[in-house]
């Protein structure tokens, strides 16, 4: 896994240097928050191979709850994030309990339907601010002393969390816990016959994934000062799937790469606005959903390994012994 390690180091270096390049700070922070979201999603779907279409529920509720806590209860930043993570984890536990026994497609649809319930709840609940969302969320002070309103500080705070998340997930994968997960993914019945409570392991993995997604949501809310209905909509669930697919499902940093590409695309297209080709003019900003849809289709048809997956495939001489793209070819 030398290639992966090199890529990781490259990413870390880029991350450390980024604020000095003059790229818009909020954009970078948004990339990283979504990067954490994608890593969280990838941990479950990418390594375990069960597609969840409901992760927006964890992300969005993390955003709402963290935002609410820091705005209305005045807690410090880290407490707010922790609260968001706890709520997301609890939600993950409930979803998991209902869905985890089912396979593949059933599991996916159930997570979608449950997330939709959360969406409807958010539409109606008073504290979410409905269409307007939860606005003017302050960043607060980290541990009560570090002021996160300073762009540099906030950036490195999120950066550290991103690195920590990637490292944590990596650690989990290579730990005994992760080995069991891998065994479950490769041959569930054998894992059961060896005495492992597979449902329990899957549930724990799901809860961890949910909690990390909640962390991402909280960071996003604090960065952009906003938590809105978009964050819990199923399209958000779709976006995070695309990020991982595009970047490389089942790879360590693929999700982050995918997140950066998707956020970049959305920002650029929205920013470019109207483009003229002779007599015809396009408003690119309204075409974003179409482009996302087309990229999705192209990825599924032609580019299933994702960017990082292709890079690793190119450099790898022997077949990968570690985690490979989950929904593998020809699963019977």
């Amino acid at each position: 896994m030398i290639v992966e390690r090199i890529l990781f180091v490259l990413l870390a270096i880029l991350g450390v240097l980024a604020p000095f390049t003059g790229i818009y700070a909020l954009f970078l922070m948004k990339c990283m928050a979504f990067g954490i979201f994608a890593v969280a999603f990838n941990f479950f779907t990418g390594y375990i191979g069960l597609l969840s279409i409901g992760h927006a529920a964890f992300f969005g509720m993390g955003a709402y709850f963290s935002g609410y806590a820091i705005k209305n209860w005045g807690v410090t930043a880290e407490i707010a994030l922790l609260l968001g993570m706890l709520l997301a984890a609890a939600l993950g536990w409930i979803f998991g309990k209902i869905a985890i026994r089912r396979r593949g497609i059933y599991f996916a649809m159930i997570t979608l339907a449950l997330a939709q319930m959360v969406y409807f709840f958010c539409v109606q609940a008073p504290f979410t601010g409905a269409e307007d969302g939860l606005q003017r969320i302050p960043r607060g002070k980290l541990f009560g002393i570090i002021d996160l309103n300073n762009e540099f500080v906030m950036y490195y705070f999120i950066f550290v969390l991103l690195i920590a998340t990637i490292w944590f997930v990596r650690y989990l994968i290579s730990s005994p816990f992760g080995q069991v997960l891998k065994a479950i993914r490769d041959n569930e019945s054998r894992a059961i016959s060896l005495g492992y409570d597979v449902q329990h392991y899957k549930l724990i993995a799901f809860v961890i994934s949910a909690a990390l997604a909640g962390l991402a949501g909280g960071l996003k809310a604090m960065t952009l000062s906003l938590a809105a209905l978009n964050d819990v909509h199923w399209k958000m669930s779709g976006e995070v799937i695309l990020m991982c697919l595009l970047g490389g499902l089942g790879t360590a940093i693929g999700p982050v790469v995918g997140a950066v590409v998707v956020v970049l695309l959305q920002t650029e297209l929205a920013g470019v606005g109207v483009v003229s080709l002779g007599p015809i003019s396009f408003d690119l900003s309204t075409k974003i959903p179409i482009l996302i849809g087309v990229i999705f289709m192209l990825c599924v048809l032609l580019f299933r390994k994702g960017i990082v997956g292709e890079v690793m495939h190119y450099f790898e001489i022997q077949p990968r012994t570690q985690v490979h793209p989950p929904f593998d070819e020809k699963t019977t």
Binding site: L51, I98, A99, R101, R102, R103, G104, I105, Y106, A108, M109, I110, L112, A113, L114, Q116, M117, F120, F121, Q124, W234, K235, G238, I241, L242, L245, T286, K287, I288, P289, I290, L291, I292, G293, V294, I295, F296, M297, C299, V300, L301, R304, P326, F327, D328, E329, K330, T331
Partner: protein
């Protein structure tokens, strides 16, 4: 007369709306169930195809003066053909892979289709008037029912029954059931399964488009009309069991009615009622009410 302090008018009114909704749930979940049975894939584009059906009818009316009655026939044909082409040239390439890729592809397709329509027509709803023959009210004595809604219920039930009959009692249906059970074996016996798959996907899409035309005069025609309905249709098939055509129809109708009744007695919960029921059913009967334990 009143039931639990709710006037019978309101009660019957909501019941009717619930029944009408239920008809759409049934038709969409029926298509989803059929496609899932043979292609082993969740057609995430189903809502978008339904929406295209409605839009085709609206477009036909506004641009060419195509009547509602013609639209009922033409719209499913056009959308069905489009879907068959998508299956033949794109979905077929995903056949040997994990079925979740099919879901993801159709997810992207739905986004693209909705995005295109949204871009061209905006997000405001477009209105589509019911044909003159179906306007007005039907006086049933105990209530006055909008004629169009009665029509929708009648046609939906007829179509659902027709599809059920087609699948359970005809030659094509036996090919479909055989292919659903074991596609390789069916091929080895001489059945052109790839063609069957293409036609079935087109048929499912046509069914969705047909529902779309039916829906146009009731719910306004707008780009996102499909996505909201689709998610409920998913819940319906999960509750009813993905393998069962009868399950999809019965569950769809029942849930529509239950949703309608919930609106009467406890309106805040109405949009989540279906999902709550789904959660309960799953905890008690993981394979769904009519499903076989294959997942």
């Amino acid at each position: 007369m009143s039931i639990f302090n709710i006037s019978s008018q309101v009660f019957l009114g909501q019941l009717t709306i619930g029944l009408v909704n239920g008809c759409f749930y049934a038709m969409l979940s029926l298509g989803l169930a059929i496609i899932f049975g043979l292609l082993n894939m969740i057609n995430f584009a189903h809502g978008a195809l339904y929406m295209l059906g409605a839009f085709a009818a609206w477009f036909g009316l506004v641009t060419f003066g195509v009547s509602y009655w013609c639209a009922l026939l033409l719209s499913p044909l056009i959308v069905g053909l489009f879907a068959a082409i998508v299956e033949r040239f794109f979905l077929r390439r995903l056949e040997g892979l994990d079925h979740l890729y099919g879901l993801l592809f159709t997810f992207g397709l739905a986004l693209a289709l909705e995005g295109i329509v949204l871009d061209i027509y905006g997000s405001a709803g477009l209105s589509y008037a019911p044909p003159s023959q179906l306007r007005g009210l039907l006086d049933l004595g105990f209530m006055r029912l909008p004629l169009y809604r009665a029509w929708v219920v009648a046609v939906s039930l007829a179509v659902c029954f027709g599809v059920w009959f087609l699948i359970e009692r005809t030659r094509y249906g036996s090919y479909l059931r055989a292919g659903t059970e074991d596609a390789h074996l069916a091929q080895a016996l001489g059945i052109n399964v790839p063609l069957l798959i293409t036609l079935t996907y087109g048929f499912g899409a046509g069914l969705a488009a047909f529902a779309g035309v039916l829906a146009a005069p009731i719910y306004q025609v707008h780009p996102l009309m499909g996505s909201n309905l689709l998610i409920i249709a998913f819940a319906v098939v999960v509750i009813g069991g993905l393998g069962s055509t009868l399950g999809a129809i019965v569950t769809g109708l029942a849930l529509g009615v239950i949703e309608g009744l919930t609106k009467v007695f406890y309106p805040e919960a109405s949009s989540t009622a279906v999902f709550i029921i789904m959660a309960f059913v799953l905890l008690l009967r993981p394979a769904g009410l009519f499903g076989q334990e294959t997942a």
